[in-house]
């Protein structure tokens, strides 16, 4: 990371933005930009992230890049159709991209379906460029999120996919395999190229409970996640793997640890208590995210934001093991003063040296337990 042989002087930080917030921020920082900002990192110039003092740079390959491709309707290379949904905030308007067409809604379409090719060299040019220019100073994350379940339901339809799990498990498995293979190929390539971490995941948690049962997750998704991680670590035993799921996924965290997960993301605090997570899993997992975007960032005061940063540092980040930032892309409804309160609090709060820190450890080889260096 940005830390070259020194103990982290403050908690590592990672923040991503919706394109509209990125524009606003660039204006605030008096920086120009001619490209649409990708919240997942693929294709960005990273000037914004670096100007803010972020420690992680994201480079994305895969279906997650289909989000935020434009204001007009479009069909992505998987055959999934997108429309835009406009929203208004006190600080400006923006649009989300939402799926409105599922190419595999019809069972008969599955046999003949061809996913895109994950081996195309052009998919990896950005990662190449990022690694070449920034590997020494930043923690480079290869992003292959929406890894299995999300892309599968994008292809199939959300309710249909969920009922497939219950009524047609063989079909469900075939559907999951399609994005699984694609993203595994991409993640392996990114690992070979030398990224520090691979970020995978699927939203399997709702606000208060899982969307599918832990049993169903263990049946359909756990073996795939286990193999995914194993194949990456076979290429590079030092590569770290982070898993993303929104919401409440407490029951499957021990399973994730069991299959070799290093970092849990995004730690949605209104769904899972960060203090409890640290208590129960802090010796085995690092945490990434945790600043609330359902209440604090959009609706709290700047003082609330600062207080939340301090609380996380003292609890979730005690003795290290935390990459701090908002749980999701910063949206336009976050007041600019809250955004700056957050980033200033993170970058200006000194980080007590973790107990286990060993000055002799070379940079770029973080300890698995607790401390991300």
């Amino acid at each position: 990371m940005a830390l070259n042989h020194e103990a982290p002087d403050r908690c590592p930080m990672q923040i991503s933005f919706t394109p509209e917030f990125a524009s606003l921020l660039l204006k605030d920082l008096k920086m120009g930009a001619d490209k649409l900002h990708n919240p997942h990192g693929g294709g960005n110039t990273y000037e914004l992230e670096r100007a803010l003092g972020e420690d992680l740079l994201l480079t994305s390959v895969g279906w997650a890049n289909s989000y935020y491709q434009g204001a007009e309707n479009y069909v992505d290379e998987w055959g999934i159709g997108w429309r835009s949904a406009e929203y208004t905030t006190p600080y400006g308007n923006g649009y989300y991209t939402e799926i409105n067409q599922h190419p595999l809604a019809d069972d008969r379409a599955i046999d003949s379906y061809q996913p895109p090719d994950p081996t195309r060299p052009e998919l990896y040019h950005e990662a190449e460029w990022v690694l070449k220019n920034f590997k020494d100073e930043y923690w480079i994350v290869g992003v292959t999120v929406t890894t299995i379940f999300e892309c599968a339901w994008g292809l199939r339809g959300y309710e249909r996919m969920l009922t497939d799990f219950a009524l047609n498990p063989d079909l469900a498995q075939r559907l999951l395999d399609i994005p699984y293979r694609y993203h595994l190929t991409a993640a392996k390539k990114l690992t070979q190229m030398g990224v520090d971490m691979i970020w995978i995941g699927d939203d399997v948690g709702a606000q208060n409970a899982m969307i599918i049962s832990p049993k169903m997750w263990r049946k359909f998704l756990k073996p795939l996640v286990a193999n995914f991680i194993a194949e990456l670590k076979a290429i590079n035993p030092q590569v770290k793997v982070a898993y993303h799921s929104d919401g409440a996924i407490y029951p499957i965290i021990p399973d994730l640890i069991e299959v070799g997960l290093d970092v849990l993301n995004p730690i949605q605090p209104a769904s899972m208590d960060p203090v409890r997570l640290k208590q129960d899993f802090g010796d085995k997992l690092c945490f990434w995210g945790s600043l609330d975007e359902q209440h604090t960032l959009p609706f709290g005061s700047a003082a609330d934001v600062q207080a939340e940063v301090q609380t996380r540092l003292q609890t979730l980040g005690k003795n290290g093991g935390l990459i701090l930032g908002p749980t999701h892309h910063v949206q336009l409804d976050t007041p600019m003063q809250n955004f700056w309160a957050m980033t200033n609090a993170i970058t200006q709060t000194p980080y007590p040296k973790p107990k286990s820190y060993d000055r002799g450890k070379p940079a770029g080889i973080p300890a698995r337990e607790g401390n991300m260096k």
């Binding site: 929203y87 219950a166 709702a206 606000q207 899982m210 049962s213």
Partner: protein, 210 residues
């Protein structure tokens, strides 16, 4: 649970569409009252689905397939219900607010309410305030229910309540809300009559308000 309806009841719990349809046919064939088939075989089953969901044993897939089995049975039963003058538990107009396209929660609430004997007017996603006003003014809705997944679309909840107020209809209807970022506190703030954190609790809430 009455033994005569156990086949139908279990078919719904298992998400067995064919079994639910057969169960309804068999009960009708045996001369059972449509209203009792509904109450003992179907509403009772969906109540159990709700309980299992609240207890953390049923999740979204199980709810969806149970609700579909119930709906399949209800399609067969409906003409018989109408002709035997069975009243619904109430009419609910439901949708996601303007700008919000996320409907899994809304769909589950609609399914569970239907499973409890309510009549549903589904306004779909991205429902403008005037659609809700219309449902009260001309559609006979007793309850208006809306949800938002996003902090950016949440403000349209107040806009919708204001539109109902502005149309002079606020005291004619009960308003209930839900969605991931929504809280009881928020519901109180914007003048909703209730908030529910999941589809099963939405049913209890609707029943308590009428």
């Amino acid at each position: 649970m009455n033994e005569e309806y156990s086949a139908l009841y279990n078919a719904i719990l298992e998400g067995d569409v064919a079994g639910a349809q057969a169960g309804v046919q068999a009960a009708l064939g045996a001369g059972q009252e449509p209203g009792t088939i509904l109450a003992e075989g179907m509403i009772a089953a969906m109540k159990e689905v709700g309980r299992l969901f609240e207890e953390g044993e049923f999740f979204v897939p199980e709810m969806l397939i149970s609700a579909r089995a119930m709906q399949a049975g209800l399609t067969i039963l409906k003409p018989h219900l109408l002709s035997s003058d069975v009243k619904s538990a109430g009419k609910v107009a439901i949708g996601t607010v303007k700008g919000d396209l996320h409907d899994i929660g809304k769909n589950l609430v609609a399914l569970m309410l239907e499973g409890a004997g309510f009549e549903i007017i589904d306004l779909g996603v991205d429902a403008a305030p005037d659609k809700f006003v219309e449902a009260v003014a001309n559609g006979g809705a007793d309850i208006v229910a809306f949800s938002a997944l996003l902090t950016t679309t949440m403000p349209n909840m107040k806009v919708t309540i204001d539109a109902i107020q502005h149309a002079g209809l606020r005291d004619k209807v009960k308003i209930i809300i839900g969605g991931a970022p929504v809280t009881q506190e928020y519901a109180n703030q914007i003048g909703a009559d209730g908030f529910a954190s999941d589809a099963s609790r939405a049913v209890s809430l609707a029943q308590s308000l009428l």
